[in-house]
Amino acid sequence: MPARQPIKDHIRESRLFNERAAWAAIISLVLLGCIAARMVYLQVINYQHFTTLSDGNRISLVPVEPTRGLVYDRNGVLLAHNIPSFSLEIIPEKVGNLDQTIARLREIITISDEDVQRFYRQRRHKRSFVSIPLRFNLNDEEMARFAVERHHFPGVETEARALRHYPLGKLAVHAVGYVGRISEEELRHLDENYAATDFIGKTGIERSYENVLHGKVGYKQVETNALGRSLRELSRIPPTPGENVHLTLDVDLQRVAEETLGDRRGAVVAIDPRNGDVLALASMPGYDPNLFVAGIDQSTYNSLQNSPDNPLFNRALRGQYPPGSTIKPFVGLAGLENDRIRINSTSYCPGWFSLEGDSHRYRDWKHQGHGTMNLEDAIAQSCDVYFYELALTLGIDRIHDYLHLFGFGDLTGIDLHEERAGLLPSREWKRARHKQPWYLGETVITGIGQGYMLATPIQLAHAVATLASRGKVYQPHLAQSVDLPGDSTLQDVAPPIPRAITMHDPQNWEDVAEAMRKVVHGQGGTANAAGRGALVQFAGKTGTAQVFGIRQDQRYVEKDISERLRDHALFIAFAPVEDPQIAIAIIVENGGSGSGTAAPVARRLIDHYLAKTGS
């Protein structure tokens, strides 16, 4: 040891150590005090802030789907409701090997490739620990088979969900429409009210009254853990169920309409001319809307989409046909109103008509000609030449303006979204559309509803209802009222406020109505056969629309060609003549003549409806 090493002084060292130990104790206590101060800062001063954050962590708001409103016909027959349906669902987080589990499930339950694809698609959008449906609508046998094997499938459950169901199937499908899964496109336009909803109205009433039927989303507060699994419900704001919608539709009449059309392609629209209630709206063929609810599989959808009969096409609202001779009563009214003719003004029909200085002959459907005709006969026997002349006398401007009053060329405003406007030609339209002047010959054929003019069945029904009510224009509508479940008060959706078409001489209405009665009940009336033995006399007008060629989207199939090239048969009618309660427009595609195929349908509908209402 070096000599310079100082001698240890034990007492001094002890004192020095005690001093330092005291310092250590003091510093330790000060540091513990710092911790305490920090805790006061966190737990007392910022208590509210951290409590809010803590609750935000654990409490999440889960939306609850409202029950969709029901749809009834005018007599309380259920058209759309919700039924419990069992679906096979998986919580992916609880399943070890998802692909393998699905593969094993497929051994006991039919699961299509599309089901699997949809499952994985949905999985990308869902939060964790949410059960995702793999298969909808399990039947009893499948439920039983899964119940036996269930213990092999942790994380796989059968869940009861309310699924839209249309108890009448195909019936009135083009009026009621259907719901389907919300698409990604639709999702972009929906607000938080749809947070819990999987389905949305795609067509028909389901679509147009979506905001009424849907209801208001509810919420439940659930406690969730860090993985997002909900553990218990803390509180709940119940959803407000959607309102029920009562339609003006009469299911019995609808059934008669659809059965009478049978397997023909066509459309029937029946309207109550006293208020615009749509009593029947049929487009044939139809399809089963229940197929779309659970998600239609691709092959069924393709077969519907590619069918030459085009069952998905709503002919009643979207089918645009040349109205043919059904336009004649309206052109006749235009003539009377514009003082171009009187009801007994006569004209000679030689079977053809030609313009001055033009050799082209506009033929009458009756080659030998009708002879001398007044307006009443011309309507009853559907003389073309009379209306060629009348059209020429009126000119296209007056025809356009007058037919426009009856709603041709415009949407009727029916409470369905699919409607098309048809086409009411005018000089302005032709200049804009074809960059050509209007030719006189086009006026001539417009007089018999040919040429450019197109009308939808709903437009024709609307126009004939206006005629039947002697000029009261009611907007056609399918929904009558809405109510809340458990609340007996009905609230009218659209109170009928008519717009009126005024005649200089109200007798003109009666004259045309009488002429239309003679179509059905008069000597030589074109629908004479259909009127024989009718319960109540009714007024009508036949029409035939030429099919000019093969539509571009139709394939050329030889065995179909003859049938598909036949004329479309049209018929408009109202009954009873004096006090009309029903107005009808019918189109039978490739039905041949209006008198042969369309008028008998009207006859059956009118008989059925008036027998039922007791007139």
């Binding site: 090493q5 020095l16 540091l31 513990l32 911790i35 805790m39 962590n57 853990n225 860090a226």
Partner: protein, 369 residues
């Protein structure tokens, strides 16, 4: 008779070489730990049994070390230190990688972290070195003491295990300060450290920088590195004055809080027992530290004084750093809360330290002073 009984029991306790106040304080802390762990682990009985066995082991180690007279410790100090350095070198060369750091040494029958030994060996070695010489230490002695501290600290920091390195460095420096090192050296060193901080930044691993960044601004990465701190602060803050109640902490029970059984168990405790529980816990720690320092002042020679003082302060550093990091007062360094966090090694080391402290207290020659 009563008097004789009390004397008898005192003699018995002295024969056991235990310090009853310190033992009670540590036992209470262990009970608080078990109660908190029961909630934090989600009532996992396997965890409880394992932790119970570790506590048993830790108290046994304490008891065994309390029986060894301090002069044996003094004799073995240089050997233990040298052995520890050799083991640390072995870890650096052959050690196993666990959780991204090379800390473990596998001896075939047991895996352990040699750095744990150094938590005791370093302060004992420094005390051994300084107590041979007159105090306060001279500059030369200071330099040698610093070297004794730096060699294992650097080896451990390179593993990397910054928490343990800081702890060991702290334990060594406590010995120097308790030995009467002039405060001016301490402040000079602190100033030098502050000046070197930017250099330190470049020496750090990425994850260490992340921790510092998360500490300075946890909101910058709330779902990544800041998540632990944010969730722990929410747990503590939402506990309020009275706490949410045992096993009712939503942050912990619903698994928002990570590492809730181990390093972050303090957040569970604060959430469920609130400020009141915290004051009880801090009082317990304060009592243990004060009792330990008192024992140190009662020691009969410089070596035992320094050893007892520095081991007690090591326990304090554990507690302070853990609570400080969980409550967001300092960066996350990964030190457990002794006797409360789930996990054995740190607890065994701390209890071994208290065993030595008790031995120092109970092996005094009972001479009237």
């Amino acid at each position: 008779m009563r008097w004789a009984d009390r004397r008898g029991s005192r003699v018995f306790v002295r024969g056991m070489h235990l310090d009853i106040p310190l033992l009670i304080g540590l036992a209470l802390l262990a009970i608080v730990g078990m109660v908190t762990l029961y909630s934090a682990s989600g009532q996992n009985m396997d965890v409880m049994i394992q932790q119970g066995l570790r506590i048993l082991l830790a108290f046994t180690v304490m008891f065994v070390l309390a029986q060894i007279p301090p002069h044996h410790v003094e004799y073995w100090a240089p050997w233990a230190y040298a052995g520890g350095v050799v083991l640390l070198l072995a870890v650096a060369l052959f050690g196993e990688v666990g959780k991204g750091a090379q800390r473990w040494l596998d001896l075939g029958f047991v895996r352990f972290q040699p750095s744990e030994i150094m938590k005791i060996a370093v302060p004992v070695m420094v005390a051994w070195y300084l107590s041979e010489r007159a105090l306060p230490p001279s500059k030369t002695q200071l330099l040698i003491a610093l070297l004794i501290i730096a060699v294992p600290a650097v080896l451990i920091a390179r593993q990397p295990d910054l928490g343990t390195a800081i702890l060991i460095g702290g334990a060594g420096i406590f010995v120097l300060l308790l030995a009467g090192l002039h405060w001016k050296y301490f402040f000079m060193a602190a100033a030098a450290a502050a000046a070197c901080a930017p250099l330190l930044w470049y020496a750090m691993h990425d994850y260490q920088r992340q921790r510092v960044m998360s500490f300075l601004d946890p909101e910058s990465n709330p779902l990544g590195s800041g998540y632990h701190i944010i969730q722990a602060k929410i747990a503590i803050g939402s506990g309020g004055i009275y706490g949410k109640g045992w096993m009712n902490g939503t942050q912990s029970q619903l698994e928002f809080l990570p590492e809730r059984s181990t390093d972050f168990i303090f957040a569970v405790f604060s959430e469920e027992f609130g400020l009141i529980g915290l004051i009880v816990l801090l009082s317990l720690c304060a009592f243990i530290v004060i009792r330990g320092l008192y024992i140190a002042t009662q020691a009969h020679d410089t070596f035992t004084r320094l050893v007892a003082g520095s081991l007690v302060l090591t326990f304090f550093v554990y507690t302070f750093v853990n609570i400080g990091m969980v409550s967001g007062m300092m960066p996350v360094v990964g030190l457990p809360l002794p006797l409360i966090s789930y996990g054995g090694t740190a607890m065994v080391t701390v209890m071994a330290g208290f065993g030595i402290v008790m031995s120092i207290h109970t092996h005094r020659k009972l001479l009237p002073s």
